[in-house]
Assembly symmetry: C2
Homo-oligomer: 342 residues x 2
């Protein structure tokens, strides 16, 4: 695939691109971003090695699909991307999008796709119309869920890394995707933020029912109970999953809500307490560890932060990219042992 | 209009019918419910006076529309109602529905409506695609919101009654509807449980922006933070509204979650505390009173319950139908005075 980030290559907005480069680099022919053309993905995104960043579709002729590589608030396709998408459709490429505005609902894209025989794939589309039933949940599947004090601070990455490492340790574990990027990585899942609000917890429950043949599921979180825009999504997901254990994610050094800079973030201890209280309304649950997204800080600074926050919260803490997720994996295994002991 | 409740006339399931009979009786020609035909609405629903309950469309020939009068979980139209709805369409009646399954999306109904020139009105349909922005909220509009320990325990009725009584006391107050029945009563609003989850808080904020020219708005609550199915809707609404004061509603004598009888309800003090904690993440807010739905209990029993719960929570408490909402109205005015003093 070609990944389109044109003009939006900061790691937060281009999070779909960055995650695909991290977890599915073999499927990426090039990134299309005119302002950074001629450089490599490693230079622009810190991941993706020598995969080239190009300035036109012509320079990535081996690709059979174009992935919309960004996740802007509100989920609308940028206006200046429309000619690029139409050109790709004209070449018969499959267009893959995780945006709220569905490609299939765009008359210009739909008409062009029909004319040129191109496929439009909307990762976010779903047809969830079930309310939660609380039936058939398997007690001996351990349900782990990544949550956060804010958006865009590594909930999906933490879930993927913990699930991968559990599998490498011989545990029958699965990553469960709840967002468009996670769905690309996992090859399935449900973009819960797109579901009709009444069916949120039902969609979460359906994800558990579909994956609980594994011994452990690690479910990607969405939004934050503390985000003014997305807290409803987060609670519906949290309650529908009936989680046993939570991993609390945050970005080091961030002090205000993502995209709403005049709203300060709450202290992490308060965040942890509120998540535990909210989760325990439905099912016994506790926060078992913290995943620190170190961003641009130095290795020493991140190590010091993990040490500090681990002490403050009395929890294992690590940056899953820099340190690996071993501390969190150990916390999951420990929770599983104590659950079996019950 | 004719209100259709056929086979579903218990007050919880037929809540749309009951509320329209209570607040818009002048617009109801008859209720269609074959099992209760020949009786009056007062006899079957305890409201609606002498409005007849009939067994066929023929017996309500003055009506120009048919209202789907129930709100079942999941929001699907009962199978045995389809011939009745098709017959009404065949007579050219407007069909009004607040169900999740939109009439317009039903090929059989849509085709029939086109053929017979009948209108299909889906109260729940919306096109909300805005995330919350936290811009332009007016400080001197007092935002009151009804919340609850469970579904179906009088949040809409409490909001309507408090707003009406405030207006009668000369206050510029408005009831703001967030569900299909409220929309029927208010003539506008947004069915937030139908909104795409990511846009829940944005839809709530839009309701505030559209109504904050009033001095007080009383916004109908949806679901409950303690309901396994709908807690996400409730939190998204609560956070999007940036409420100043909450009225806590519950049904006397209920011990388990509505529709999920094996899940016990939490103590009211815990419910109150969690609502306050959740609301205060976004905006200073407190619970200012309790609205008790007395249901089938005697007047004496309900009075004793209000006395007891008022003492337990240290709040004014009343059944707005039996006692009127004066105690809650006084609590709203008191909150308004203390807000002005700040």
């Amino acid at each position: 695939m070609i990944v389109l980030t044109d003009g939006y290559n900061d790691p937060h907005t281009a999070k779909t691109a960055v995650c695909v480069l991290r977890y599915r680099p073999g499927e990426v022919v090039a990134v299309l971003d005119r302002g950074s053309a001629g450089r490599t993905c490693r230079q622009v995104f810190d991941v993706g090695g020598d995969i080239p960043v190009v300035g036109s579709l012509d320079e990535a002729s081996g690709a059979d699909s174009l992935l919309i590589g960004i996740a802007p608030p509100g989920g609308k396709i940028p206006q200046h991307w429309r000619p690029i998408v139409l050109e790709a459709i004209g070449r018969g490429l499959t267009i893959i999008s995780g945006l709220h505005e569905l490609l299939r609902d765009d008359p210009e894209f739909a008409t062009a796709a029909k004319r040129h025989g191109a496929r439009l794939v909307d990762l976010r589309a779903s047809d969830e119309h079930d309310v939660a039933q609380r039936r058939g949940l398997r007690d001996d599947c351990l349900r782990i869920h990544t949550v956060a004090n804010d958006c865009g601070c590594g909930k999906m990455v933490a879930a993927v890394e913990v699930a991968q490492r559990l599998r490498r340790a011989g545990v029958d574990a699965a990553f469960v995707a709840t967002g468009q990027t996670g769905i690309l990585i996992a090859g399935g899942g449900c973009a819960v933020d797109r579901v009709i609000a009444d069916f949120l917890s039902g969609a979460a429950e359906n994800l558990v029912l579909a994956n609980q043949h594994h011994d452990v599921i690690v479910v990607e979180g969405q939004g934050s109970l503390f985000h003014p825009r997305y807290s409803g999504v987060t609670l519906g997901l949290l309650h529908g999953l009936m989680s046993d254990g939570l991993i609390l994610c945050y970005e080091m050094g961030r002090s205000a809500v993502f995209g709403m800079e005049d709203i300060p973030l709450k202290p992490l201890a308060e965040v942890r307490d509120f998540y535990e209280r909210a989760a325990n309304i439905m099912h016994p649950c506790r926060v078992i560890g913290a995943a620190v997204y170190g961003g641009e800080f130095s290795d020493d600074e991140v190590a010091a932060e993990c040490e500090r926050v681990g002490r403050e919260l009395g929890l294992p803490a690590c940056d899953v990219i820099r340190h690996g997720p071993d501390k969190l994996v150990e916390a999951v295994l420990e929770l599983g042992r104590s659950a079996q002991g019950r």
